[in-house]
Assembly symmetry: C2
Homo-oligomer: 108 residues x 2
Amino acid sequence: MVREPTFLILAAVAPAPLHGYGILQAVEQLSEGRVRLRAGTLYAALDRLVGEGSLLLDHEEAVDGRLRRYYRITDAGLDALRSGVERLEANAAAARHQLARRRERRLA
Amino acid sequence: MVREPTFLILAAVAPAPLHGYGILQAVEQLSEGRVRLRAGTLYAALDRLVGEGSLLLDHEEAVDGRLRRYYRITDAGLDALRSGVERLEANAAAARHQLARRRERRLA
DNA sequence: GTGAATATGCCGATGATCGGTATATGCTAT
DNA sequence: ATAGCATATACCGATCATCGGCATATTCAC
């Protein structure tokens, strides 16, 4: 399964191409501050996701002499993200069901 | 974050004490066949979860000369499971939101 | 002029999971 | 009878994503 940082990186890039540092901030917002990516995690994940075909380098932009490398999500990346969403929801629902079974058992 | 196999193990044990092999089968059912735990993953996770205080050894039972070791979830384990559920749901919702933003952008 | 934000990237360590193997019993089909 | 499968626990080395820290360079604010 795709892990939390990778999942949120894919989610961050889904709407439109975004550069590394922008992804860092987007992930923090998306997760309401719960997940602050380490730079090492981010750039390693970007390389890996490009290698897998989930992302691709869209273009590079120089802003104030600082290079921005924009990544775009691919169809394969979208598939991975969508199936990840379904998987998270299925696992959450299964766990909720188990917690409900526990409550029933407690009352019996 | 708690990973998928660990999360499903906690969910499996939530309703009532269960032994290792029973957990293996419960996780497979809970995940609708998507997750088949390796024995190594399972027993290592059980030891780890007991060490963390999320599970504890409830009792041992001998059935047909085979020892069954029953594990029970603790209050700390329930807290971990519940916050895991919320986290999965929040991440799934955030990703769905991003996918919707993408669709809006495509149409514009 | 010091520190924070922006921006990318490398590196070693950690740790959960994978995949395989070992051991032992009981059941079932050939 | 015996080979294979299910039950049941457990160890082992390998993999790999993430963590945590460090390096580098520029711009902006105090």
